[in-house]
Symmetry: C2
Subunit: 262 residues, 2 copies
Amino acid sequence: MSKHMSEGEDPDFIKSLAKGLAVIEAFGPDAPSMTLSAVAQKVGLSPGSTRRVLVTLSKLGYMTYDERDRRFHLSARTLQLGYSYLASLPAFSLIQPRLAELSDRLDESCSVMTRDGREVVCIARATAKRLQRDYMSVGTRFPAHASSSGKLLLGDLPPEEFEALYDGTKPLAAVTPFTVADRPRLKTQMEEARRQGWIYTCQETALGMASLAVPIRVGGRVRYGLSTSATLTYDGPTIIDRYLPDLLKAAEAMERFLETRN
Amino acid sequence: MSKHMSEGEDPDFIKSLAKGLAVIEAFGPDAPSMTLSAVAQKVGLSPGSTRRVLVTLSKLGYMTYDERDRRFHLSARTLQLGYSYLASLPAFSLIQPRLAELSDRLDESCSVMTRDGREVVCIARATAKRLQRDYMSVGTRFPAHASSSGKLLLGDLPPEEFEALYDGTKPLAAVTPFTVADRPRLKTQMEEARRQGWIYTCQETALGMASLAVPIRVGGRVRYGLSTSATLTYDGPTIIDRYLPDLLKAAEAMERFLETRN
């Protein structure tokens, strides 16, 4: 059971709400459907507790039960929970066409990412049409320190906030063998990115992929990162030459929308 | 308070979990941030109950509180709840590039929709790059009877399931003045769509927009609708001539992925 679910000291903390959300998050690509006991095991709850959560989520329409294999799976209703967040973002409806245009011009997939603690989350994505599959979508997360946008977002934090965020955490995770997992090197990288207003990273998030990201500022702070991911067909300088001008122009247009709607 | 939140008779129903999910869903484009009392009023809960829910969601990272204006807003963590569903869908990573390719070829926005009760939900979207803004994104919902994909999905239901779904419901909502809100006419429309394997609708979901949709079948059932939305620059027959062949081809490719991964 996670730290949060056992915060028994606080009378205002509703444990059953925490359990319910943990059950929803337990589903995913590695577990698209689960039996009651598999859910209980994965989330670390008693079978009785798990049953009540699954019954409640099913009654509310967030979960479906298949009698044939006795497995539960999430239903499309759960999308409403994430959509509430996306629809709350100012100017969200204006950003997607700009992203589609950018992806089409570069013939590469493009993303808008925001930071959530020590992770970055994709909030908008345009997929390159020539791809076989897309390794990320809206909602995909990566460790912030391993992501080009993440390094821009972390680099905008006051040093004390950065230290507090990573205080007491174990060594930084190496998502690939190329992830900069060494703090002094990460800080140098963040500082350079902040100075030049963009960042190029190579295979830090996924093998075979380079990434180029620029900041999207709202109210003087870096609130989002706009990035394009390119397969390593070109070398770094070529990617920067080809993509940076369009990336900067798109970020500027998005900033304009976000500032006026903020 | 909604019906579900007051299901006090069932000892297995966790009311506080229902309250928490209702609070998350209360946020959106019309209410991107709210004070405690605004949340309480919108969801129909007592201030004390609302406070405990907001405190819990904040501790878990789904909510942020801004001291300056005393308002709560959702944080990017909530995206994880919807993402768990999307990532559970088989072949999801294969569908997005096909959708981007289709959108590029037609120069129109394209969507994959699924049914959730009496609504359809967008699970994948590729936005036309020439648009100023996009009126829908992953997670957007429409009444199923007012949507081209929805009519295909409803038309695949056995008649008794259709009747049960709309049993006792009030007259069908007219999303626009052109929505087919008359049941006999809706059934004729659904039947024709099923017979011909596609549907063209005009301004039923949004004014000024026509829509063309084809079914995506998995295991012999219509599980998704693939649609393109076009502004009414062309007349109906032109839209059908221009877009239907590519739409059918893309749906066939998606069916192939989904069948093999099912």
